[in-house]
């Protein structure tokens, strides 16, 4: 019964909701500590994630210091089991699954969970950009009018600066009250040519970068943003600056050879 429950967290929940199912197995429900068993399933799930610790050192450190590891992995266990049954067991697939869960698990009114989510986003993004192939760069010419991200670019809004959180967590005796909270926007960028970069930016620049989809031309984006007023000098300047920073490249419109 213990093994069956640990192997299938959904079964544990079913037993909790319907104690008669335990009685049908010949067990007096009062003799079974289902709460503890679900926590144990959380520990087992956490251990399955040992292969991801190399990519998520800060996330695991934070979860340990905030004593959230067992609770988080206990809640994640049913979803994780479903993913394992679909064969999603590689390190990157496990990282994706955990982030998906944590995004839903986090409420914006819970600052500790927000911190966990932000640190996980940070480390997940770095891991995925390091391992993902990067599209080749297209040279800029005056005929090219469709902006797109140069390589891979991920924008995150954060309630902390994960780099500062990392400094706090790497201390031998971390003091979590030293973590600064507020509003930050970061761009995680990797082009073919350069290393992975983490850029702190104004929220508006982050918004602008997120509107770029690689399909619409500059004029279309400007029209979508500003209507008939079209592109302002400020928008021109912003795109030029982003291009100089290596964040954007330009393509010909669809159907036109560059």
């Amino acid at each position: 019964m213990v093994a069956a429950g640990l192997a299938d967290p959904d079964r544990l929940r079913a037993w909790r909701d319907r104690p008669d199912l335990l009685a049908a197995l010949g067990l007096a429900p009062a003799t079974v500590d289902l709460e503890a068993l679900e926590d144990f399933a959380g520990l087992s799930e956490k251990i399955r994630y040992n292969q991801c610790r190399g990519d998520l050192p800060l996330t695991f450190r934070l979860l340990s210091l905030t004593q959230l590891e067992i609770d988080l992995f206990r809640q994640y266990a049913p979803q994780s089991l479903a993913r394992r049954q679909l064969g999603r067991v590689s390190t990157s697939e496990r990282l994706d699954g955990l982030l998906l869960f944590v995004e839903a698990w986090t409420s914006d009114t819970d600052p500790v969970r927000c911190l966990v989510r932000d640190v996980l986003r940070h480390e997940h993004t770095i891991a995925s950009l390091r391992s993902a192939p990067v599209a080749s760069r297209v040279e800029v010419s005056r005929d090219l009018v469709v902006p797109r991200h140069n390589g891979r670019l991920v924008i995150h809004r954060m309630t902390c600066d994960p780099r500062q959180v990392g400094t706090v967590l790497r201390d031998r005796h971390p003091d979590l009250t030293q973590i600064r909270r507020g509003r930050w926007t970061f761009g995680y960028h990797r082009s073919t040519a350069g290393p992975l970069r983490i850029l702190e930016m104004e929220p508006g620049i982050g918004d602008l970068l997120m509107t770029i989809d690689g399909r619409r031309s500059f004029d279309q984006i400007a029209a979508d943003l500003f209507g008939d007023a079209g592109a302002s000098d400020m928008l021109h300047a912003a795109f030029a600056q982003l291009t100089r920073l290596g964040l954007l490249v330009w393509d010909a419109p669809e159907g036109v050879a560059s």
Binding site: A3, I47, N50, G54, F60, Q67, E69, R172
Partner: protein, 281 residues
């Protein structure tokens, strides 16, 4: 290849459980370690791990025999363990006094046994002691070295249990005439979770049978204590070890930091030196 040399009556050897911290630590502090403990499961799933023995002796650990379970390991598994015993020349096999496989719920043979990824503390009862006696008598015939049994961490009261962990281990040791791998952290976790006095409880163990000691971290979450091989050994574990040091003569002490991608080297160095001093004959 390097092989473990045990000096009769000498101080305990000190090693690390194989994991990401081992290689960088060995590169800088090879003289601090006498061996690396490698699990059969690592060797089976990642044969490259065997190359470690070109640098340092290996002690074999195992989680696959389900000594306290009702589903025996396959012949193929036992043959593979035996091959690694012979190849590594390990002086013993440390195995969990636990189970890792169990019959399908409701005896549904069509489903096959339930396989877990983590060893589980069995029901602590006469019935389980009998089961261990039967299982161990079969398993011992398969290997050229002794099996020693490691106490499990107990996270909850197991339905049907009739005795404490210390009493269970003592009965198994006596009935099977088997030596022990005392995981001090597991023992402290068990005592804390079951509301027992760890010092009084630990003295109920047949400590003279302790051949190897395991030390690892532990954490308190959701109202219970949990095993944590990514956290440093806490003072409370060293305190318990200090309480029993006059009664035990372990041949080996293994630090288990095998879940951690990294661990400050100064922590490991300090703890190894401290433990050598603590257990010096």
């Amino acid at each position: 290849m390097e092989y473990l040399a045990l000096e009769p009556g000498g101080p305990p050897l000190v090693g690390l459980a194989n994991g990401p911290v081992v290689e960088p630590f060995l590169a800088r502090h090879d003289r601090l370690l006498d061996y690396v403990e490698v699990s059969f499961e690592q060797l089976r799933h990642n044969p490259v791990a065997a190359q470690l023995q070109e640098q340092i002796p290996v002690l074999l650990h195992c989680s696959s025999m389900s000594v306290a379970g009702f589903v025996p390991p396959t012949d193929q598994t036992l043959e593979a363990i035996a091959e690694h015993v012979d190849r590594t020349r390990t002086p013993w096999i440390g195995e969990h006094l636990a189970f890792i496989s169990a019959d399908a719920l409701g005896g549904d043979d069509a489903v096959g046994p339930t396989e877990l990824t983590y060893t589980v503390c069995p029901q602590l009862s006469e019935e389980t002691v009998e089961r261990v006696v039967v299982n161990l008598s079969c398993l011992r015939t398969r290997f050229s070295v002794p099996i020693i049994l490691e106490n499990s961490p107990q996270y909850l009261a197991l339905p049907g249990s009739t005795m404490t962990m210390a009493a269970f281990v003592a009965q198994v040791a006596q009935r099977c005439d088997v030596d022990l791998l005392l995981d001090v952290t597991h023992f402290l976790i068990t005592a804390n979770n079951m509301g027992l006095d760890p010092i009084a409880s630990v003295h109920e163990l047949p400590l003279e049978r302790v051949v190897e000691v395991h030390l690892s971290g532990m954490s308190q979450q959701s109202g219970r204590w949990w095993d944590d091989h990514a956290a440093p050994v806490p003072d409370a574990v060293f305190d318990l070890l200090r309480q029993i040091r006059r009664r035990i003569r372990p041949k080996a002490v293994t630090f288990e930091y095998n879940w951690a991608p990294s661990m400050p080297e100064s922590v490991i160095v300090d703890q190894i030196i401290f433990t050598r001093d603590l257990l010096a004959v």
